[in-house]
């Protein structure tokens, strides 16, 4: 018998979905358990490396956050509330840097330290070795921060833009009528009202910084995620790597908790006021130039410059012929991303369908845990997957090992990207299907038939959107793929990174550009649907 909203009980569907959640969350649980492990090398790692990892991660998180805020907030405010030359283009184009994985952007910027060598030499000659070392360190940290902020600021830009566009116009006008200038209104009214949205965007930026492996590695700033790699593969100290991964997991959980707590403070938002879209104010010549600079700089840093560099290098590469390894690698990457999307969207759909109307707290908790993977660095998830599969292999005690197979890679993607598929599918189901499943059940359909006849046909579009998002994320994914992939299995991401690591940045441009192009194809319609969802056109 089917189950209505009013009467939920633990039936076969729910038990099956619950078990699925447990499987998905298993790598994260394994990593947390790993915190309790001790090994002979941990003392060395803790005393010599951990401090640097923590310091670097904290410095990067803070500097990148500040830079990203500086890039995102003025641009978001200007495109929503002012009219200036190019505003319509900037409005959508400022999302484009999201198409760049951090390591691809870093690759485009790798030439800058080389170009600055004469300056560094001059510093050494003028001020001595210490000043030279300091300048070199500052250059590395500074460049990495700019690269990360340039491609991550759209997370804040998107949430702030949506929030500014939904502000009650009367509040802004009330501030003006009470004698406040546009700037004072921005700082005293618009910013505080958008604080929850801005912090939500900011927390994504911080989590991406924690997750980053490629860019920090290329520019030589070891962070915690990089440390997991170094201890596992460099020092071959698995226990310490697992402990580090556990530590990152704890930090991420604390961050999620903080973000969740600040979201609870939204109660001051006055839901009863009528919301009218903000009317744009036309800027004069000087103001217009200022606005173009505010929007143009982040766009140039996060998209135009790296795209130009990659395009230039790719053309150099293609002048003779397409490298022989490129097309098979492209096919392999697309096939892997497509199969991962299919699997993850199916699981997301099944969970969202089962979750409909269920009020059970334990089920909700389980679901939240299963979608936590998105906040965890890829390296941490990979470590968890290796622990789970390693134990499984031991338990099987056969010659067939699951670790190091594509199954492990796909499982890692499932844990890491389930939330990416689950959120849009769940939202779509709430919006589209209403109480249709109840109607279908009352007309005599069992749950499985309702699933096939009513829900599935209605959910095509949200599932397609979810699939596209997962597809791009899988295509861009680097650390998890690097750790879990079978030997000699190259994707666009691993190849681009590998070539850059070997100093063959020109050759790395072509696979990088392919990743970015696919990202853009998905981002543009997605951004349009976001704007269509309520913002003023």
């Amino acid at each position: 018998m089917g189950i209505g909203r009013a009467e939920w009980r633990w039936d076969r569907w729910l038990i099956g979905a619950g078990l699925l959640c447990l499987v998905v969350v298993a790598p994260l649980v394994a990593v947390l358990f790993g915190l309790g492990q001790t090994g002979p090398e941990w003392g060395h790692v803790a005393s010599t490396l951990l401090g640097d990892y923590l310091k670097n991660t904290a410095i990067l998180a803070i500097v990148v956050s500040l830079l990203a805020l500086l890039m995102a907030l003025p641009a978001a405010w200007l495109v929503v509330t002012h009219e200036f030359p190019g505003r319509r283009v900037f409005e959508w184009a400022l999302v484009l840097p999201l198409a760049f994985p951090t390591y691809v952007a870093a690759l485009a910027y790798l030439q800058i330290p080389e170009m600055l060598i004469p300056t560094l030499v001059w510093v050494r000659e003028q001020f001595g070795v210490d000043a030279f070392m300091l300048a070199q360190t500052l250059l590395r940290y500074g460049l990495l921060s700019v690269v990360l902020a340039s491609v991550l600021f759209p997370y804040i830009y998107l949430s702030a833009r949506t929030s500014f566009a939904h502000h009650n116009r009367a509040l802004i006008e009330a501030s003006q009528m009470l004698g406040q200038s546009g700037r004072a209104t921005f700082f005293r009214i618009a910013l505080p009202l958008s604080r929850p949205a801005i912090i939500a965007g900011l927390s994504l930026v911080v989590m991406e910084v924690l997750n980053d492996y490629g860019a920090v590695n290329l520019l030589g700033v070891p962070t915690l995620a990089d440390g997991v790699f170094r201890t596992w593969f460099g020092l071959e100290d698995r226990v310490s790597a697992i402990r580090l991964a556990g530590l990152v997991t704890l930090i991420v959980l604390v961050l999620i908790g903080l973000e969740y707590a600040q979201r609870g403070k939204r109660s001051f938002a006055d839901a009863r006021t009528e919301e009218r879209p903000i009317e744009r104010c036309r800027l004069g010549r000087i103001g217009g130039i200022f606005a173009v600079i505010c929007c143009g700089l982040p766009l140039t840093a996060g998209f135009l410059y790296p795209a130009w560099k990659l395009g230039q290098w790719s053309l150099l590469n293609l002048r003779d012929s397409v490298p022989s390894h490129f097309l098979p690698m492209l096919g392999r990457s697309l096939a892997l991303a497509a199969s991962a999307s299919l699997m993850i969207v199916s699981v997301g759909f099944l969970l969202a369908f089962t979750a409909r109307g269920c009020q059970s707290r334990s089920w909700k908790g389980l679901l939240r845990a299963a979608t936590l993977g998105y906040a965890m660095p890829g390296a941490v998830v990979a470590v968890g997957v290796m622990m789970v599969f390693g134990n499984f292999d031991q338990w099987l005690d056969s010659n067939v090992l699951l670790s190091g197979t594509l199954l492990a890679v796909l499982f890692g993607y499932l844990t890491r990207f389930l939330a990416v598929a689950y959120q849009p599918i769940s939202a779509g189901m709430d919006r589209l299907c209403g109480r249709l499943d109840e109607a279908s059940q009352l007309l005599g359909d069992r749950r499985g038939r309702t699933f096939g006849r009513v829900i599935l046909p209605l959910m095509r579009r949200p599932m397609l959107a979810a699939g596209m998002l997962v597809f791009v994320d899988v295509l861009k994914e680097l650390p998890l793929t690097m750790i879990l992939r079978p030997a000699n299995f190259e994707t666009l991401a691993t190849k681009a990174f590998g070539l850059a690591k070997e100093g063959r940045i020109h050759e790395g441009a072509l696979p990088s550009l392919a990743i970015v192009m696919v990202g853009i194809v998905v981002l543009i319609p997605l951004n349009r649907s976001l704007r269509g969802g309520g913002e003023q056109a």
Binding site: A170, L171, M177, L178, G179, Q180, L193, A269, D270, T273
Partner: protein
């Protein structure tokens, strides 16, 4: 002295085919309350936003306190016009306390002066106890009173009220209306009140302006506008009105009274001088009074509307088909 003066003000929005407001001439004297009424889309809100400086006129001039604020190349932005605005639902800043909301527009005062002004304003709207509460902790009426205090805080030259009583339940509405009126009168503020509720407009306004399709169709003291409407639109904006029966024109009421309110008519059982013979067509129970629909004898019922008379509920019985005589009551 004239506080607000509009000369030939028109406003056409981008892409619109006709003016939202057309060639408007209007004045408000200092200390006067002007009510602006009209159907939806008549241009009431556009007028208010033009005065506030939230829109600029396409043509025409606006002066506040004698100073040209818009038109003829002049433009004073909203924050420099010295005009207070009370929004439809208050538009209180949700992240600030009541105290911070009211003090938001106070500038150039010492801390003591600021506190004194704040206390005065909160006492004026009878909400001193709510100083540290947030807007979402207030009732609808309290929010509107705080919004008025906030608008009056910087001592504006005039205050604009945009549908201040809409979305309130009827009891609270009457209470709040009386309170706001008392406060505005107490500080002798000049006010422009935009409302679609003509009852509110009649109660609070010294003068009324009626807009239709962006044009000013009538304005004057509230009583005159109510009793001598220019046309059917102005007449029916304030409730039911009867067109003067042809048989009566020039006889009973003469020129200038083409529209008669149901309450201005009286039904008599016997003929008297200046009366018109009618037949009862139907009756309507209206709660505190009885509506009696009558036709003058001899009119073509297929083409004429019946006359509506509001009678005392506890007066005479008026059976359908009975013959009666109607007379015009004298207005006090």
């Amino acid at each position: 002295m004239t506080c607000l003066e509009l000369k030939g003000v028109s406003k056409r929005y981008d892409g619109a085919v006709q003016d939202a407001l057309h060639a408007l001439d209007l004045e408000i004297e200092e200390g006067e309350i002007l009510g602006v009424v009209g159907a939806s889309g008549s241009g009431k809100t556009t007028l208010l936003r033009l005065v506030a400086g939230l829109e600029s006129p396409t043509t025409g001039e606006l002066r506040i306190g004698g100073l040209k604020v818009a038109g003829g190349g002049a433009w004073v932005p909203p924050e420099k016009r010295g005009v207070g605005l009370v929004f439809q639902e208050g538009a209180l800043f949700p992240h600030m306390t009541v105290e911070a909301n009211v003090a938001y527009g106070l500038r150039g005062l010492s801390k003591e002066e600021r506190m004194a002004r704040l206390h005065y304003l909160l006492a004026m709207v009878n909400l001193r106890a709510a100083a540290l509460r947030y807007p979402h902790e207030l009732s609808g009426g309290e929010r509107q009173r705080i919004a008025l205090a906030r608008a009056l805080a910087p001592n504006p030259k005039m205050v604009l009220l945009d549908e201040p009583f809409s979305n309130l339940d009827p009891n609270l509405r009457t209470y709040l209306r009386d309170q706001l009126l008392a406060i505005i009168r107490k500080v002798n503020a000049t006010a422009l009140v935009v409302t679609h509720d003509t009852q509110d407009a009649l109660v609070i306004s010294d003068r009324l302006a009626i807009l239709r399709d962006g044009q000013l169709v009538q304005h004057g003291p509230s009583r005159d506008v109510y009793h001598t409407p220019n046309d059917a639109y102005c007449a029916r904006l304030f409730g039911p009105a009867n067109a003067l029966p042809e048989a009566w024109s020039g006889v009973a009421v003469g020129k200038g009274r083409p529209w008669i309110r149901p309450r201005e008519l009286e039904l008599l059982e016997n003929e008297a001088p200046g009366t018109l013979e009618v037949q009862v067509h139907a009756t309507q129970f209206l709660g505190d009074q009885l509506g009696v629909l009558v036709y003058p004898i001899g009119v073509d019922r297929a083409h004429e509307e019946p006359l509506l008379v509001h009678e005392d509920l506890y007066g005479h019985l008026h059976e359908v088909g009975a013959t009666r005589w109607i007379r015009l009551r004298s207005i006090v």
